[in-house]
């Protein structure tokens, strides 16, 4: 169980994070500079909140009465460049936490980790003598060996081997350990998490189950962060999208590129402006009424049934329930 509600002022920027979930795998997703690393550092104790509370699995790390120092929080922290100590060999790096805490080494666990992470033949080498992937795996072993209360992953997979993410998930299951992954890679967040929290301008603006956030976000800012390209303000969208007015409190309407399809009976006419090919699909940029751009994602298997070229006129359509009605976070909270 993770229950966090903290505030921190750093150089005129106000950070405010609030999340409460029973889920064990959380991804904090957001653009660079949105305060994701700051959040992890506040949880780890590397930075102290101005006020609020941090409760991880019943362990109160911080509240208005006390703040547990970093070295007593037992947080497994994996930073972006996985930072092994350069003057210690891999074995000393992995055992550092056990020695620092003066606890006896669980040899079975140590052997399990080094075998699982395939680093048993690197133990006597120094970080500069091993590959990036091996350094990454050694840092994971080091974080897991201290039997942490939570694992904090600060984009540790952005640099290298993506398959390590699966390995980490396996180790998390095995250790029955909660984890927070900070990332700006949406696929990574979806692959890893049960719950996604959206980081925007130093705040968690919304969080929830992965499906809920992906298909039914609350804010226009979330839709932007999720890289949804078709976002129009509500009044404009009403003119060219065939939907019934729902609630006048909404500010924007959005639809995912993959939720739009080509259909001869489609209610919206679209002129193709540009076609970009990707591995599994084509991304079509089109022009609809009112000179508005629309982006459509059509799988390779479907597109062969249509004549698609720059300048072609096509009919497009979508399911009504794939429309997302959004509010402006800034308008309400600024």
């Amino acid at each position: 169980m993770i229950k966090v509600n903290i505030e921190k002022q750093i150089e005129n920027q106000n950070f405010n994070y609030s999340i409460e979930t029973d889920s064990r795998k959380i991804a904090l997703f957001g653009p660079s500079g949105s305060g994701k690393t700051t959040f992890l550092k506040l949880l780890a104790g590397l930075n102290s909140p101005d006020n609020g509370h941090i409760n991880i699995n019943g362990n109160i790390f911080f509240d208005n009465k006390k703040s547990i120092p970093i070295h007593k929080r037992k947080v497994g922290y994996l930073p972006q460049d996985y930072t092994l100590f350069p003057h210690m060999n891999v074995e000393k790096n992995i055992l550092y936490g056990v020695k620092a805490q003066k606890i006896s080494l669980n040899q079975e666990r140590f052997n399990f980790l080094i075998n699982k992470l395939k680093i048993s033949n690197t133990l006597h080498r120094y970080p500069h003598e091993i590959s990036g992937g091996e350094r990454q795996r050694a840092a994971i072993a080091r974080a897991f060996l201290i039997n942490p209360t939570i694992l904090l992953l600060d984009e540790p997979f952005s640099a290298l081997d993506k398959s390590i993410l699966d390995l980490v998930q396996e180790l998390l299951e095995h250790a029955n350990l909660p984890a927070i992954l900070v990332t700006h890679d949406l696929n990574e967040a979806i692959n890893f998490a049960e719950v996604i929290a959206i980081s925007y301008n130093g705040k968690i603006i919304e969080y929830g189950k992965v499906d809920k956030i992906l298909n039914n976000p609350q804010w226009m800012q979330t839709a932007r962060i999720l890289q949804i390209k078709n976002i129009w303000d509500y009044e404009t969208a009403k003119k060219f999208l065939p939907f019934k007015s729902v609630d006048s409190s909404f500010d924007y309407v959005a639809i995912k590129e993959e939720d739009i399809f080509i259909s001869s009976k489609g209610k919206i006419k679209c002129k193709i402006l540009d076609i970009k090919k990707s591995r599994f699909s084509f991304i079509i940029k089109g022009l609809i009424m009112d000179n508005k751009n629309i982006f459509i994602n059509i799988p390779h298997s479907v597109i062969k049934h249509y004549k698609i070229y720059n300048g072609a006129l096509i009919n497009i359509d979508f399911e009504m329930d794939s429309l997302m009605f959004l509010k402006d976070y800034e308008k309400i909270f600024s």
């Binding site: 070295h71 037992k74 550092y96």
Partner: protein, 251 residues
């Protein structure tokens, strides 16, 4: 072309320094060397020089390493001003440090507490003040090169803040710190102006090798002065080489 011209300049420069040392050997005699070794004041000057310079280096370690750490981590305007002011002893002649220190030690307040003039303590402080910037600069530069993330990781793994610092930042900076301490020590060992003014250069009591050599030279004992200088160079080269081999290379 550029590579060769740089090489030529380096070799010429080195040859010039070597020439000066070799030239000194023309006045070196075995007889003079034996006389020198039998001169109690010479041996005492070495001991006094070693004692005061090592104590001054110890003071540098106690004060300049923490100050270097503080200035590496704190970059506010006031800290930058302090950083610049700490360079004053390098910029001004040591003699002026001696003048200021003598004036300070001569004040009634200090005198009522302890009389530093003509003492080992006074000479130590004089040498410390002229040599600490080398330790401070080297420590600060070394600490600046080590990212704080190592300490942070060590703390998340359960090490106390002090242990985290010693195990990571300090150990990773140790080469630079030792180089700074060696420079401070060498500077203290050869210190002249400030030590002479504060400690008075009393033969056999408060004179170090530099003062001993200077006094012999002005008394016309050229050969003795040159022989003592060569012995000093020999000692310095031996000690620095040993330190480099056993401490820096090992690191």
């Amino acid at each position: 072309m550029k590579k060769y011209s740089v090489k030529l300049v380096t070799y010429l420069f080195f040859s010039f320094i070597l020439l000066i040392i070799i030239f000194s050997f023309s006045n070196f005699s075995k007889k003079e060397f034996i006389i020198l070794l039998k001169d109690k004041n010479f041996v005492r000057a070495i001991i006094f020089g070693l004692k005061t310079s090592l104590l001054a280096t110890l003071l540098s370690a106690i004060f300049a390493i923490p100050a270097g750490f503080y200035l590496a981590r704190n970059k506010r305007l006031f800290d930058k001003i302090i950083d610049s002011l700490f360079e004053i002893p390098i910029i001004i002649p040591p003699l002026i440090v001696g003048v200021l220190l003598l004036n300070f030690f001569n004040s009634q307040i200090i005198k009522s507490f302890y009389n530093f003039i003509f003492t080992v303590e006074g000479a130590t402080i004089a040498q410390f003040l002229t040599s600490f910037p080398y330790t401070l600069k080297a420590s600060k530069n070394s600490f600046e090169l080590i990212p704080t993330i190592y300490e942070e990781i060590a703390m998340t793994l359960g090490a106390s803040p002090l242990k985290s610092f010693i195990d990571t930042t300090f150990k990773l900076s140790i080469n630079g710190i030792i180089s700074g301490l060696i420079l401070s020590w060498v500077r203290s060992f050869g210190e002249f102006g400030a030590t002479l003014l504060v400690a008075g250069g009393i033969a056999g009591k408060t004179e170090n090798l530099s003062i001993y050599i200077y006094k012999n030279m002005i008394e016309g004992e050229f050969n003795k002065g040159i022989t003592a200088s060569l012995v000093t160079i020999f000692l310095a080269v031996i000690i620095i080489s040993l330190l480099k081999i056993f401490i820096i290379e090992k690191q």
